[in-house]
């Protein structure tokens, strides 16, 4: 516990969060669950950005600014995603991903 915090700590945390996100995106049946998992992945990336900013380039704020962009994109993504989810739900009365196989050739 006494070892100083290093960049590796933050990266590990981000990695774990990212893996959880991947796992969720791959396994959740509910589309809203998938969307939430994707949000987790975005956050994992943001943690990394903020950490890089702090550890590697403390003189500027580029990393933070980039994280803000990511945040914006994530917001846009979730809004559209949820809107789609609603539309789909109205049309097909289901929220489970395996019920959609329009991609099947």
């Amino acid at each position: 516990m006494n070892a100083p915090l290093t960049l590796a700590h933050y990266m590990t945390l981000a990695g774990i969060l990212f893996l959880i996100g991947i796992f969720g995106a791959l396994t959740r049946r509910n589309i809203s669950g998938i969307l939430m998992s994707i949000e987790l992945m975005f956050n994992a990336a943001n943690i990394n950005l903020a950490a890089f900013d702090r550890f590697l380039h403390p003189e500027g704020v580029t990393g933070q600014a980039l994280a803000l962009f990511v945040m914006t994109v994530a917001a846009a993504e979730i809004v559209v995603g949820l809107a789609l989810l609603l539309a789909i739900y109205r049309g097909t009365d289901t929220v489970y991903a395996e019920d959609f196989n329009l991609l099947k050739g």
Binding site: M1, N2, A3, P4, L5, T6, L7, A8, H9, M11, T12, L13, G15, I16, L17, F18, I20, G21, I22, F23, L26, T27, R28, R29, N30, S32, G33, L35, M36, S37, E39, L40, N43, A50, A51, D53, R54, F55, L56, P58, V61, Q64, A65, A67, L68, F69, M71, T72, A75, A76, E77, I78, V79, V80, L82, A83, L84, L85, L86, A87
Partner: protein, 164 residues
């Protein structure tokens, strides 16, 4: 010492609630845990000294997105969902994928095992503002366009058919 305690507890909070997000059977609970996890991330930002990011995280994510998700989930929720498995049959393979990816990610993380903070944290809001309205003005405007498009998209997809 304080730093370490803060970090580890925040990390624990974040990871645990993230796990709950992907594993919990009830989607509503999942969304609540999502809010918690995002709040944990906000704490991490604070511990990194990214004050503006911390604020944005709280405002956009915790109070915006997480709440939005919760509303939608509640809107779509059905009682019967609680009896269904919320994880599909692919979880084993997904775990394998994660394991493989983990190897790479942690390999990289280890490269920075020795990188420590070299300078004191300073407030960044001022700098970010200068950056956005100065050097990064074009991307900044573009991202606002993206937001606008997302807004229009959301309206388009959610409007009801009776208009026509």
């Amino acid at each position: 010492m304080i730093d370490q305690i803060v970090f580890y507890s925040l990390a624990l909070l974040t990871v645990a609630s993230a796990l709950a997000v992907v594993l919990h059977r009830n989607t509503v609970h999942s969304s609540l845990f999502l809010g918690l996890s995002l709040a944990g991330v906000a704490g991490i930002y604070a511990s990194l000294g990214a004050d503006f990011l911390f604020g944005a995280q709280i405002m956009v994510y915790v109070s915006g997105i997480a709440v939005l998700v919760m509303f939608v989930v509640m809107l779509l929720g059905r009682a019967s969902d609680l009896h269904l498995r919320q994880v599909n049959e692919r979880w084993m393979a997904a775990l394998l994928v994660c394991a493989v990816a983990a190897v790479g990610l942690f390999k990289v993380a280890r490269l920075h095992a020795g990188t420590v903070v070299t300078a004191a944290a300073k407030p960044g809001t001022h700098d970010i503002g200068r950056l956005f309205l100065g050097e990064w003005l074009l991307p900044f405007e573009l991202i606002s366009l993206v937001l606008l498009a997302a807004l229009l998209g959301a309206v388009f997809f959610t409007r009801t058919e009776k208009a026509s």
